[in-house]
Symmetry: C2
Subunit: 513 residues, 2 copies
């Protein structure tokens, strides 16, 4: 047993779900709002989402995609199209039926019966249909294509069971919607978005992902192909962290997105859509968190370096703050990852040790404590969040000079970014089982006693229709799903795990969020 | 008469409202969505809003304010508090009453009667109450103060008569909400936010504004003081472009935001709130637009420089595009206003003249056309949007060498930013009448025949209660309101225009949006 006294009450190994909730709370990421299924995203959590937005948005813009904003409300009629093809259509969505609130005469308020909408409005669960309508107006000729649009927005899907960041009734996301004059161009965009998500996840979020195509039964309804990036959480479950869909001409036919091609012939456009949401924040927590709280990859940290003067409420405080302010200025003059370094001098009142552990739990990449002795010696006490503990269960402080610390920070931050990725990558690769060739072995591997079994990469014959349904049912009994067909996996060379036929590809099978 | 053939069909002087609508459409800013009162913000319009967000957000963060995100939905109960004090309470708000949509069995869809919410949810018209609830949880001690929060969000206020950007049922905004341990600190924050808005409007939007306190009758309900920035549109009307409220302890009492002070005594916090919305985009259009369309201040332009190769669809196009691509790289390597210059090489198919006028209508600050003769001569044809017309009603092209053009651009953009501000400032100051001392003269000045009369700055005795109501009624008959009491105006030295008493301050009186 280690002598370390960790900063959280719950260990990952003891109760992963409870640990997750504790990190969300202890790292000051979010809290329940009192509105069913909706969370309040607190400054540190929202700051991480803002960083994700900024970095992903730069990648989106670099690809020539333009941001737009469509209405929050979607006319009910837009869903009738969709419902026409579905037996017993029922969808969990927030329905606006009135546009006025009045007093009920008994001290309460009620929707004004005189202000009932003729047609209810739906709070967008996605903007697919309303953007499709606009595309049908905006696209006339091949000259208008490709049309590359993206929207950052809040969306609502009424969820019965919610978990902060992973599944909430309201969540924040970006939704890309593009239209093209050919299948090839639309498929190229689908793959570009997928690759953009892979690079964003791996380079910015330090989240190793496996990109690949979803099997037929996991496709977005109406899509011709659905691709995803899948990340392994520390409990071995998979998190779908982003999706990219090639929609063929299905959505263009429904929304009447047509163009005159170079020969003057009317054609339906080929469309795509792709999205990443605040779910990614949940993925970050479950990948990089440890028993001391969150660890934020430096590229995403709202504050990369936090300076904590050990104030005593006496006359010495002024000189200490001056010393720290000079350090702050030195650090702020540095750049990391091509941006000015983000540094906070935390002068709030409070005990130094309490403030240190607050920032540890929040996962600021580097803490720099400065006490009177540091100031006298011209040094600082520097603590890396990715290497918190030293010998004897004590925090592993380094004590460089103030100038050396400031100069070393860009390199330290790059090291931390790399270390978080490497740790997650090594853990994931160690937890993908590639040797399973029979259904019995698969069932054994995912038996209840094997607590965090990770993923299995197996071979299959890519069954379709009823044969696929049978596979899905068998996996469901083990609480498993096919995550995707990894890009770049070795060709199949064996038999299908499920049917015994000759396999055609490899798939990832896992439990998932 | 000038020989100029302007790029819009409607002149400002002929029909300002129709001109506004034409600019919104011709500059590709926004369009009707088909959802009542909600607009689609198109790429160029949204790009301008994104620039506003980025620049204002940097100012907000520099003041130590932290961004957060609160739920879209507010429980109906939160409005009961407010309604308790209001006779015949009725508010235009979007009310969510159901959480599921089902087929009605006749090919249509209806809200599922079995999925009626126990308590309706309101789509936020502002987040005042729900953020107040969180503050009451987050604030315990004086150490937790000041608490400085901001949110970028969509809000909904059901509007009967809408106009794009100026008044829409859904709009985008930021709302700052802060809590403090003293009146002085909260008032200082109120004034800081006001000054931030003034600087943002004048430096970034090139919108000269008058900052000042609103009269009592124009205060935000529950506020102790309401301050605004007011801008003059080209039709002489005022646009309230931002507000900052000192709320005293009124909202803290309603939401129970209390803290233990340094002496251990429980106190109510003093709070503020402040906001700027997509309305600012409407103000930008009505301030800087001209008879050729929009003119976007360079700091806000999504593209500051647009390069248009005059493509002919023949073999010469390749060399022309190469020449332009080299120019684009030269320009992109430059900085303006401390950011990399934003430059677009527009290679889309289409006639060169049509593309030029598209970009003129959108108001890109600088257009650079390049034809084969430019390429041979090593020059470009540069057109400034703020100085479009030369002698003989022809576009005022300059023809510097390619290198000289690239190097001159940062300076040209700074000149354009300054010129737009100076023009608007001169126009506003020329249209504030300061000599009116009687109610009759005021009525004459704003008589129906005087089409774009501008504003009047007059003296008053700051009446309150019924005396103020009487003034408000008299002004209303002239379709006028008191905009604010300008900061820094000369002290009063005469009689109150309305009561004849000794005046105590000067006020701006105007028609408004």
């Amino acid at each position: 047993m280690s002598a370390i006294r960790h900063a959280l009450a719950t260990r990952r190994a003891d109760d992963f779900a409870a640990w997750y909730q504790e990190v969300v709370s202890a790292a000051d990421m979010a809290e329940e709002s009192g509105v069913r299924g909706c969370m309040v995203i607190k400054p540190w959590g929202y700051g991480i989402w803002e960083r994700m937005q900024r970095l992903l948005d730069a990648r989106i813009k670099a690809a020539g995609v333009q941001n737009v904003y469509f209405p929050l409300f979607i006319p009910l009629g837009n869903f009738v199209r969709e419902a026409a093809h579905v037996e017993g259509f029922a969808k969990e969505m927030a329905v606006v039926t009135h546009h006025r609130l009045i007093a009920d005469g008994k001290g309460g308020l009620i929707p004004d019966p005189a202000a009932k909408l003729e047609e209810p409005l739906i709070v967008r669960p996605t903007s697919e249909t309303i953007i499709g309508d606009a595309m049908s107006r905006w696209v006339q000729s091949w000259r208008d294509l490709p049309l590359l649009l993206n929207q950052w927005a809040n969306v609502v899907r009424w969820e019965m069971r919610t978990r902060m960041f992973l599944r909430t009734s309201e969540f924040l996301w970006q939704e890309g919607h593009t239209a093209h004059d050919s299948r090839d161009d639309a498929r190229a965009e689908t793959m570009r978005a997928l690759e953009m998500y892979r690079a964003f996840a791996e380079e910015d979020v330090a989240l190793p992902v496996i990109a690949g195509e979803k099997p037929e039964n996991e496709r977005f309804p109406g899509a011709v192909e659905t691709w995803s990036i899948e990340a392994m959480m520390q409990d071995g479950k998979a998190l779908q962290a982003g999706t990219s869909h090639y929609l063929g001409t299905n959505f263009a036919r429904a929304a009447n997105i047509r163009f005159q091609d170079r020969e003057g012939v009317q054609q339906f456009a080929h469309t795509t859509s792709w999205g990443v949401s605040t779910r990614m924040v949940g993925g970050l927590i479950m990948t990089h968190g440890d028993d001391d709280g969150l660890r934020v990859p430096p590229r995403l940290a709202p504050q990369q370096v936090v300076i904590l003067p050990m104030l005593r409420g006496d006359d010495g405080d002024g000189a200490l703050v001056d010393y720290c302010e000079a350090l702050r200025a030195m650090v702020a003059a540095q750049s990391a990852f091509g941006e000015p370094l983000r540094v906070l001098l935390d002068k709030r009142p409070g005990k130094a040790a309490a403030k240190r552990w607050d920032w540890v739990r929040r996962g600021a990449p580097v803490l720099i404590e400065v006490g009177p002795r540091d100031r006298e010696a011209g040094t600082v006490s520097l603590l890396r969040r990715d290497a918190l503990w030293g010998e004897g269960g004590k925090p592993a402080f380094q004590t460089p000079t103030r100038e050396a610390a400031a100069q070393a920070l860009p390199g330290i931050l790059a090291e931390i970014q790399g270390a978080l990725f490497d740790q997650a990558h090594a853990r994931r690769d160690a937890n993908i089982e590639r040797g399973i060739t029979t259904a019995d072995a698969l069932a054994d591997y995912f038996a209840p006693g094997n607590r965090y079994p990770g993923w299995a990469q197996v071979q299959w014959a890519r069954p379709t229709g009823p044969a696929l349904d049978a596979v899905v049912e068998r996996l469901k009994a083990l609480k498993l799903t096919v995550r995707n067909v990894p890009q770049g996996a070795e060709p199949a060379d064996g038999a299908c795990l499920f049917t015994g036929e000759r396999a055609v590809e490899r798939i990832i099978v896992a439990r998932s969020y």
